[in-house]
Symmetry: C3
Subunit: 363 residues, 3 copies
């Protein structure tokens, strides 16, 4: 007997509620804003409709699936799915026994269909008996507070919020409506908007890394700012967002931050920025709107990154980047230049012995 | 008085139980699968046997020590240890008053000898009075559950498991036998094999970083998969392993993951992979068996890394890597090519003024 | 209504106690070791003195502010602050209505002035009713232990210590005086000096990443060492410091470690080192005194970094670095060489077609 059998189960009932539905092709097309292309026999759905979702290689005739990555096209050829969500380029690869939902954005469509079958779990109002809630805290009666949570003085928790087990909401923190704060979170000195999500173990609002070298030792800079998480911000697991020193640290509305990300004191991010896992943004740097920072990238402090800039993975950004640029490399440079450099160096390296005399001692 | 005196103490009795033993050279040789080379006077052990272990520079005549790193050979010359575990190359450096245990793998031998003197601490069955355990959870009576742990509905905890203080095991999670889960861990949507170890503060099973850009904002992708940790997996501290979106995230049997590592949704790792601290593996990437990913390396999503590939520290892997290759650099390339590039660029940089006219404006 | 209005408030009274003061220019100059330069009308302070601090763009005539970054000099021209702390170079940019405090180290002066207005919050002696404290633990009556903390057997907590909520201090750990341990910290196998600070969610003292490849699987190396945090060490949030395998892991007096930093087993750091966010130091590496390791840098194991070395951001250090050097790049090289290489490669890449025949197939 093993407890970790990897046999595949869609939405394992150990963990997920039964799928909603069934749904007709018309309902799916409507929510997905997609066009229905019938199967060869003209049908558009199995009797009784679609009952669930599944990955392309595991789906059966009553399931919906999707494909948006060219790498996996051969899986599409072989799929047993009843319906697949694809973009128009892929339609000729959809098997004849399979309905297609065609859209210019299959991933968005898939996300909505999946959410239709599996809506977010509901918040169950109430404060767990073991939670420690200050008498001065204002908890909306529709909020849920789990075991061993600690809610400090004068905290405000809005309607429909969920606060996970072992999470600490420090004195004075204010949470808007429908926030979902995971377990083991430390949150302090923070003002939080509506529909903000923070995953397990993230640290929001602690002192930043600020100190001066005094005559005998380092002297700590007091941190008198806050963290502001605007509406619809989502933050992953085990990330750290330091509060401001004298200004605030601000995460703009709709921004998404992944796991193990570091955001330094006084950073200001605009709307709908994306910061991927293990990236770090140093103190006082400004991101305008729709900036993407890929995994493991690092930005020095006190720089400005323009609208819609995309910073590549492992990139090291040491100065301002103008709006619309794509940069990569350490130090950062335009993507085109980076890959040209890589190619040139590879060529040079191979041709080295022809280029330079006396190179026999090279390696 | 100071509380942090750094005077060296082997296995400080404040923290560790007294060493087992004493043990004879024959017992040590047997467990270490090593050959005993007597000291110059022909003896192989002190009267009464060996009583403990110690680092090479601190060991005395009743202690066992080891050396496997050429950098520290001068310490071997001066050691007072009674017995040292070494490979055959080092034997001529072993002092004449010192017994040698010779093996082709001194580190493995040392690991076993150390474990002989200091076995793992026993699990003490019982559930701490402050733990919050769902009535539907099945806890084996031989398991230990520490203070303030939270065990959700329908959780199964196998024989001999240890669950640390402040750890949360979410509804439906199944743990096999003899697992050791540290403190402050969040584990959810997970199926866990036997003898799995997770260190403090790791996050297993939360939502991955998946969302689509909708017409007005990002729309979150539901995550309906699981995390599967197969037998003998070990995970370090403060690492994050996201559950699958529709497939599962799988960590293959015997794999070892260090601290602060990020494993994205749907990643599938084979047997006995190693992922070192601060490395990150993006979503849906596949590692075959015996893959090593060194510290701070990053792998993009949707790629395949073949058997026994070794990915170097800080490497950035952007495409598939064939079995058996060693890669390094960002972007990743064969190790030999990387160091040739480094050397060529250094040479070129020095010779630049001779190579190209008009370079006076260079720096 | 929004709960996350970003309107700026200095030291938001939701979170911070009212400022001390008011203070005269003379008091400020004394604590800042700075020289007072009166405003144009000869005055040095408003009636009643200075009442608070504020960032340069938000300060009013009764506030103190500072500027030490040339990037923001235009803000100085427009400031309404009553007094600004600056270095002598900037004095001609200080508006005529504004007093200057001139010093060679404005950041240090600012830190002291800010601390004068906003001293650290006091520790409030007592053990929270929900904390789980072993009967054999010695807790100084002046210490504060917060909710759900777990204090193990034979722990010693010195005078004036603060232990945050949900923090676990493992059996045998010794804390000196006036330590501040945040929330959700796991600390075990550790000896801690005086005035040591650890922020939320850091993991101190767990097993390191050590194992040998045995005939059938990896075999774990027992970790029998400790972690020693000397006086005045500060550690950020969600960092991980593994205990030694047979030696100790030592963080030298006065050192500062940022968030999400990894320190491997047996690392020994000297006095007043700085390790910035997301950097990692592998096992058994030695840092001498006053070493700085910038963000996301990585050091391999078993190397020695000399006094006052500065390791640049994202640097990959693979061998010893001599005292006083500044290195950057992966692999690490002297800073001057790194930037020359970057410049040379850029030039070569642009001039490639002129340098090498037959390069038309390059990109």
């Amino acid at each position: 007997m093993t407890t970790c059998d990897r046999s595949f189960v869609v939405a394992d009932p150990r963990f997920f509620a039964k799928a909603k539905g069934p749904f007709s092709a018309a309902v799916l097309a409507d929510i997905a804003k997609a066009k229905v292309v019938p199967r060869k026999d003209g049908g558009i759905e199995p009797a009784g409709g679609y009952v669930g979702i599944a990955p392309i290689q595991a789906a059966s005739m009553r399931d919906v699936s999707f494909l948006d990555n060219r790498r996996y096209l051969s899986l599409l050829d072989q799929t047993q799915a009843g319906l697949v969500i694809v973009e128009s380029d892929f339609i000729k690869r959809v098997p004849s026994h399979c309905v297609a939902l065609v859209t210019s954005d299959p991933y968005l469509a898939w996300s909505r269909v999946a959410r239709l079958f599996y809506p977010s779990s509901a918040v169950i109002p109430g404060v767990h008996a073991t939670a420690s809630v200050a008498s001065t805290a204002l908890i909306d009666p529709s909020a849920q507070i789990e075991a061993f949570a600690v809610i400090g003085d004068n905290v405000e928790v809005g309607a429909g919020c969920f606060i996970g087990a072992h999470t600490i909401i420090g004195a004075g923190v204010r949470l808007g409506q429908a926030c979902r704060i995971g377990s083991h979170v430390s949150m302090s000195y923070a003002l939080v908007g509506n529909r903000v999500t923070v995953s397990h173990g993230s640290r929001i609002g602690q002192d930043g890394f600020g100190f001066a070298l005094g005559p005998v030792s380092f002297e700590t800079m007091p941190h008198l700012g806050r963290v502001i998480l605007e509406d619809d911000v989502e933050i992953g697991a085990n990330s750290t967002i330091d509060r401001g020193s004298v200004n605030d640290t601000i995460i703009g509305a709709g921004s998404r931050i992944d796991n193990l990300v570091q955001i330094g004191h006084n950073v200001q991010m605009g709307r709908c920025c994306i910061v991927v896992s293990q990236a770090g943004i140093s103190g006082s740097t400004v991101l305008e709107d729709y900036v993407t920072v890929a995994a493991q990238a690092g930005l020095v402090g006190h720089i400005r990154i323009g609208n819609k800039v995309r910073v590549g993975a492992q990139c090291g950004v040491m100065s301002d980047v103008e709006a619309g640029q794509d940069v990569i490399g350490s130090p950062a440079m335009p993507v085109r230049e980076f890959f040209r450099n890589v190619a040139v160096l590879r060529k040079l390296s191979k041709k080295w012995s022809k280029l330079v005399r006396g190179s026999s001692d090279l390696i």
